[in-house]
Amino acid sequence: MTTAVETIQDTPLVIGGRTFQSRLLVGTGKYPDMETMVRAIEASGAEVVTVAVRRVNLDRTKDSSVLHYLDPKHVFLLANTAGCYTAADAIRYARLAREAGFNDFVKLEVIGDEETLLPDVQGLLESAKVLVQEGFKVLAYTNEDLVTALRLEDAGCAAVMPLASPIGSGLGLLNPLSIRTIKRRLHVPVIVDAGVGTASDACVTMEQGVDGILMNTAIAAAQDPVAMAHAMRLATIAGRAAYLAGRMPRREVAMPSSPTKGMLD
């Protein structure tokens, strides 16, 4: 007997020549403690985890390296350029990250505004071009603007990552139409990054047909991050499955589900 699950024909997620089974990518920041982070990542089923590049704490009172808790053989480390406000800074951080010796992927962020943390698309494009030239696989964090997404693809980015809503806001997917348009027009993977608040947000996002979703705060700042990671895993799978299944058309009038014939006199 064929089960419903067996009828879903999906392809794996391929970014920059690397194949991943999970369409959920997660961050490693803001967890109450490292043990919770490790358990949450496991519960999420994510293979790609993002990390940031920061100065080593010289007073050695605490060891903050995330690599003491994550085994790079089991997770794919995606370094970000979070906190960078210029193309030059983002390039500098990306080069430092690559020198750590794990891979040549970078989640490129160039922030343009402190309050909203919205991307500086000019700096983003400028740094993306340089990093692609240097052989990086660039995953560019951007806003939900089609033209910027197209330019990033033209620049050679391995994936384009439009936001659902501002970083850490938990407001969910604010502009589904733009996200669908970007997905329809681009050939490289589209990974929605930032803004998801809860499982339904992840599900709705995946229902737009995007290739994957990246989140951090929604899991790390949940009351029970491990349980939320599990919920996000299910929501990502459910949203993807619903997209592949193809939703029914929307109607503005009701249509009965039961037969209208055969009613008693």
Partner: protein, 66 residues
């Protein structure tokens, strides 16, 4: 001699190499990336670079982030 490491003024033995500096700071070279006067120094070359007075050194690693 005085150098700036991660934004702080530090005293380092004259003539020390970057490799020796990491040893002195008890840092595992495999877990740290070194930038010396804005230039990344490959792990294999850390013992070939001698630190000079006034140098700027950045020692970075991966921390939790989104």
């Amino acid at each position: 001699m005085d150098v700036v490491i991660n934004g702080e003024h530090k005293q380092v033995t004259s003539g020390a190499t970057l490799g020796e500096l990491l040893k002195e700071l008890e840092l595992d070279p495999r877990a740290v990336v070194v930038e010396h006067n804005r230039k990344i120094v490959r792990r294999a070359g850390l013992s070939d670079v001698t630190i000079a007075e006034g140098d700027t050194i950045e020692l970075v690693h991966f921390v939790g982030g989104g």
